[in-house]
């Protein structure tokens, strides 16, 4: 770990390699975990509870995001915290058939309490996320009971967390493929250690994406 004491942009880890769904079983060996791949915009949030910076993966602040999302609440103290995740802004249909937008879904942390988590393995970071935001699939909100199978609530407004699965990749893929909001799965090597995100392509060797086939229209 190295100190992170001021805002500096960090490129998010993103998968570059991809596999077809039929190959999922070969990775279902305990070496990888998976998270749903959401159809939104990759987003990085930097905050110390007072300042907040919401950036895209192109190193530019996002021009538009919902002001009601409690990004500042992601800071657990007055130290710096950096989260990567998906910002839902495309209005894709979710599990219950409603449009999903103006949600930030965390899938990894890069900085925790002024420490850039260089060298920490994925499982350590996922466990830290889980301890901070324990999985809760249901929550009573303004519109009644809000339940998800593949999305976890937090107590922060507009902030959600991606669930993590350790096995059953093919069945999971078939299940999430039914929902517009989910693009597929991202497989992540459990032992992969976080390395520096000073350039766009980073930490990619420990991640693989498996996407739903694109629809082909015949006219």
């Amino acid at each position: 770990m190295i100190p992170y004491l001021n805002f500096n942009y960090i490129y998010p880890p993103r998968p570059e390699f991809k596999i077809p769904p039929k190959e999922l079983d070969t990775f279902d060996t305990g070496e990888y975990l998976v998270q749903p791949k959401y159809n939104g915009t990759c987003c990085i949030v930097f905050t110390n509870g007072t300042e907040v910076y919401v950036y895209n993966r192109h190193k530019s602040p996002m021009a538009w995001y919902c002001p009601n999302i409690d990004f500042k609440g992601l800071a657990q103290s007055d130290q710096w915290y950096v989260y990567t995740g998906e910002y839902l802004n495309k209005g894709k249909l979710g599990e219950n058939g409603n449009k999903e937008k103006d949600k930030f879904i965390i899938w990894d942390i890069l900085v925790w309490a002024d420490q850039y988590l260089i060298g920490d393995d994925l499982l350590t970071r996922i466990n830290l996320l889980e301890e901070t935001y324990p999985c809760q699939r249901g929550k009573i909100g303004e519109n009644g009971l809000e339940m998800y199978e593949h999305l976890c609530h937090t107590n922060l407004n507009g902030i959600y967390k991606a669930p993590t699965y350790m096995n059953g990749f093919t069945k999971l893929f078939e299940d999430i493929s039914k929902t517009d909001l989910y693009e597929g799965l991202v497989l992540k090597k459990i032992e992969s250690k976080l390395s520096y995100g000073f350039q766009m392509l980073n930490n990619h060797d420990g991640q693989i994406k498996c996407r739903k086939p694109t629809k082909v229209y015949h006219f």
């Binding site: 990759c42 192109h58 996002m62 021009a63 538009w64 449009k99 694109t214």
Partner: protein
Amino acid sequence: MDKKISKTQMLRDTMYVMFKDNHLPYLDMEDFLIMWQSLADQWNIRIEDDQWEEFIEEVNSVASNRQNVFNEIFDKYFI
């Protein structure tokens, strides 16, 4: 209407004014996307849905407040 301006250029300029000049404060990115797709369709300008999504993602940035940056992003997807 200036006949020298192509429909693609008109779309680009229209999008920029709609999105960046803050005339439409009640719209979010999905609203802009729907309006832009509809206009593009009306003007026979078509790109794949996934290209639209990548364009929206890239253009939703403070960097593209500068019209030359916005135009560069637009041209990457539409020209």
